[in-house]
Symmetry: C2
Subunit: 207 residues, 2 copies
């Protein structure tokens, strides 16, 4: 089972690494991080770089495509070459998935027309501009297309995916391996739940 995660300048690291830690444990999984060129690719902050071990062009096909989001995705939606690559991969996948604003890139490739989908809460209008209907759920399955909400949601998506690809016990074993028993100290993880002061602070750009 070949899992390909494309990297691009300005991706968000947790979008990649959350589901990576789950999917890499699927029996038979081979994960490949790819980018336009091999070598380090910087995240949206610039303080972290993941290494691309293959070029996008060198990837013939994959079983699972996982497209991460990040600030850089807003530029990449206009990149015709990247959209064509996404479509080429999607033609051969069992699952085509995204985390956060990675769904914008699936949308730009024309893969979300007429589908329900999710994204980071800040990107819902742009998501819908690609013909999708935004759904405020953490993980949205539409046939083989699976979109997850912002950043940390990729962990939940990957566990749900493992249960479908293998079985529930495998997903539960992986959840135990990564000790995913989340206990956030606050309850501020969605627009609906976040206190007004937290929303205002975030929108102010001071955080």
């Amino acid at each position: 089972m070949r899992i390909v995660i494309p990297l691009y300048e300005g991706f968000t690291a947790l979008d990649v690494v959350g589901p990576y830690e789950v999917l890499r444990m699927l029996p038979g999984a081979e994960v490949v991080l790819a980018a336009s060129a091999e070598g380090p690719v910087r995240d949206g902050v610039g303080a972290l770089a993941l290494t691309a071990d293959a070029t996008l062009d060198a990837i013939e096909s994959c079983d699972i495509l996982l497209v991460p989001g990040g600030p850089g995705s807003r530029r990449l939606v206009s990149d015709e070459g990247f959209a064509a690559w996404i479509r080429r991969m999607d033609a051969g996948t069992t699952w085509t998935t995204s985390v956060c604003t990675g769904s914008l890139l699936l949308g730009a490739a024309g893969l979300l027309r007429g589908l329900q989908a999710t994204s980071h809460w800040s990107a819902t209008d742009l998501l819908e501009s690609f013909g999708a209907t935004y759904t405020a759920e953490r993980v949205v399955f539409q046939g083989k297309v699976v979109t997850a909400a912002g950043v940390s949601s990729g962990i939940d998506m990957a566990l749900a995916l493992v249960a479908r690809i293998a079985d529930r016990t495998t997903a539960e074993a992986i959840q135990l391996a990564i000790e995913y028993d989340p206990q956030p100290p606050f309850d501020s993880g969605s627009l609906a739940k976040a206190p007004e002061a937290a929303r205002e602070l975030l929108m102010s750009g001071r955080v």
Copy 2:
């Protein structure tokens, strides 16, 4: 506020990237990934490499030290040079922290003697061999020493840390930014909660 995360061959990527995505948003934060040499450092699976942008020797001091875990930590506990580096950093930190088996490395440096601490559930005996008392909590604060449980727990730790360093509203704003509203599809994230079949599958090494 300088945050230093040491990388080593065989680290676990989510131990690094979970708290990274939270702490990088602290106002004034500067995060540095460091290793014995600059350049790519492979995780425990080998399918992912993060770039070290500085050498350990070049780091004079930091405000927050965050030591990740991973399969490689079991070798590194015998590395006197690394233990000495941890002690040198700890001498200047406001917070000395670890995720998963990163606590073994704090232990090997002598920083956990007489303290309560946590680690990945598979490493509790080794943790106690360094003079710590294992506590089955997700995040354990002991003065400036903070240890988190396995892999995914670093996100919870980082949010708790932000609340202490800045304030609760800042932590809530960051939680919203990364849409951390966890909804694991199963409830198998700890030894106490995991179904027996999942525990057995994991212990069998087939996952």
